[in-house]
């Protein structure tokens, strides 16, 4: 069930990426923007990392900047990093690749679960974020936006719809997609600065996966299902978890009695 809802929302957002510029061409300006920053009616929403970079590089903050990050941060505090698994177009593509790999019977490159892996992953991605912000500070421009997968994909969609061409940035996405065939979710797990930055706002009291029953049949299918290589039974409060709900979806015990569930 969860997966179905998730796919529907992901698809709507993915298609919306192309529809919004189309509406703008027709001079309907209700929704405008990309996944760097988007306006719905009068509500401004922006990628917190993009705004953070603009603030750092210009040493200046104004009300538009401030207001546009309120909603996304509230969303993460309440629902966790749902943007990644329920919204990000790159994640949608990557899941498509997984599906394709299964269809083409290409060997799955997903590593097996290892207790130390989440720490290692977090170390690498926070490290990458910090180094990125450092470089951004030196260059003095919002450099990390140049490697923002969701931002680039949506802005390329805009350029494609509006001008019928693509700019060079698309190569970055193509390279990531090719690498994705060999390294399972490497961008989302190890590097994506946007996703990592969102993780910072995960709140203990927000939505997370909890094992509500003490024991279960121990089939370990949730561990096998988790795309972030966590153990959903124990570590779902890790900042890596993006509340995709795949673990809840596969848990066989859930059918009989609530075992693994989303809880606030």
């Amino acid at each position: 069930m969860i997966k179905k809802y998730r796919k529907v929302i992901q698809s709507i957002i993915f298609v919306g990426m192309f529809v919004v510029p189309l509406l703008n061409i027709l001079e309907i300006y209700f929704i405008k923007g990309t996944f760097y920053s988007i306006d719905i009616g009068d509500i401004g929403i922006a990628d917190p990392l993009a705004i953070f970079q603009a603030i750092i590089s210009s040493r200046h903050i104004n009300t538009t900047m401030f207001i546009s990050v309120i909603l996304p941060i509230l969303l993460i505090l309440l629902l966790g990093r749902v943007w990644c698994s329920w919204g990000c177009p790159y994640y949608f593509i990557v899941e498509g690749i997984d599906y394709l790999k299964k269809k083409l019977k290409i060997k799955n490159s997903k590593p097996s679960y290892d207790e130390r892996l989440p720490h290692k992953t977090n170390f690498i991605r926070y490290g990458f974020l910090i180094i990125g912000i450092l470089f951004m500070g030196i260059s003095g421009i919002p450099l990390l936006n140049l490697i923002s997968a969701p931002g680039i994909i949506s802005s390329q969609a805009l350029v494609l719809v509006k001008f019928h061409y693509l700019t060079f940035e698309i190569f970055f996405i193509l390279i990531l997609i090719i690498l994705e065939f060999f390294y399972f979710r490497f961008w989302c797990r190890y590097f994506c600065p946007q996703g990592t930055f969102l993780s910072l706002f995960r709140w203990k009291k927000g939505l997370k996966v909890v094992k509500v029953k003490d024991d279960c049949s121990n089939c370990l299918s949730c561990i096998r299902a988790c795309p972030m290589l966590l153990n959903p039974m124990r570590e779902a409060d890790n900042s890596l978890c993006h509340n995709c709900g795949d673990c809840i979806e596969v848990c066989p015990d859930n059918k009989k009695v609530d075992t693994l569930k989303f809880r606030m």
Binding site: V20, P21, N24, E27, Y29, K32, G33, T34, Y36, S37, I38, D39, G44, A46, D47, A50, I51, Q53, A54, S57, S58, H60, N62, T64, M65, S68, S139, G140, I141, P142, L143, N145, L146, G151, S155, L158, V159, K162, F163, T167, F168, E169
Partner: protein, 249 residues
């Protein structure tokens, strides 16, 4: 060169912060280029709302500016509809700018050695002889701030004044190849690094006070045109026969 000077030069020429090129402008309301590169998050909202497709997303040729919005005046100028400044989420474009006359994207400069009107006058005065003489006046005719930003000196020589907002419409429409009018983008570096055309155009500026105001515009002009009566028959020196009615008119 002292070390301090070297460091200054090296650091000030930050490759991330833009470089100068004529006819390549930031959208209206853009803050000074250095600040712009700090603020613009490349969200492309300004590109999206522009109804004339004037704003383009910078590609690899623009180096580290890739993804930022540019108006390439030679392809498509800004038509000053003022939709874009208000949508910028970071203030890279001044959100409060609504008055098209307050825009300052740059300033136009007319190349007097190429502009057809200037050539015509030179031809007329016998300074040069090209064997062809054309009056164009396109820039004057298309300028949205006609008689403010661009005036006709001696009724024939187009001159840019400091009221020019740099929209680039004159550049887009100029029929000569290469174009006889250029826009020097404003806010791109200081005037020492701004290059040749900035220096040149500064010299040909006219103070706006010098412009006389005895022309009709807008509604008044329309009124006057509508009041022109067909009844006053033109008086010709020679005794032409004036046609009373035109068939099928």
């Amino acid at each position: 060169m002292s070390i301090k000077k070297f460091l200054q030069d090296f650091l000030n020429k930050n490759p991330f912060k833009g470089f100068y090129q004529v006819d390549r402008l930031r959208p209206p309301g853009a803050v000074e280029e250095k600040k712009f590169m700090e603020l613009c998050i490349r969200c492309a909202r300004c590109i999206e709302v522009c109804p004339y497709d004037s704003i383009k997303r910078a590609d690899l040729f623009e180096k580290m500016q890739i993804g930022t919005p540019y108006i390439f005046a030679r392809d498509r100028a800004c038509y000053l509809c003022m939709k874009c400044p208000s949508v910028c989420p970071t203030g890279a474009l001044d959100n409060n700018l609504v008055d098209a006359e307050k825009v300052k994207m740059g300033i136009a400069h007319i190349d007097q050695n190429r502009c057809l009107n200037y050539l015509y006058v030179k031809e007329e005065e016998g300074v040069i002889s090209t064997g062809r003489a054309q009056i164009c006046s396109t820039c004057y005719n298309v300028c949205p701030l006609q008689d403010k930003a661009i005036i006709m000196e001696k009724y024939i020589l187009p001159v840019i004044t400091e009221k020019c907002v740099g929209c680039g419409i004159c550049v887009e429409k100029c029929p000569t190849e290469p174009k006889s009018v250029y826009i020097t983008p404003s806010g791109m570096g200081n005037k020492d690094t701004a290059g040749f055309y900035y220096q040149r155009s500064k010299m040909s500026f006219k103070k706006s006070e010098e412009i006389t105001d005895d022309y009709l515009k807008g509604d008044k002009l329309l009124q006057k045109k509508q009041n022109i009566q067909g009844e006053d028959k033109p008086k010709f020196k020679n005794n032409f026969k004036v046609q009373e009615k035109i068939e099928g008119w």
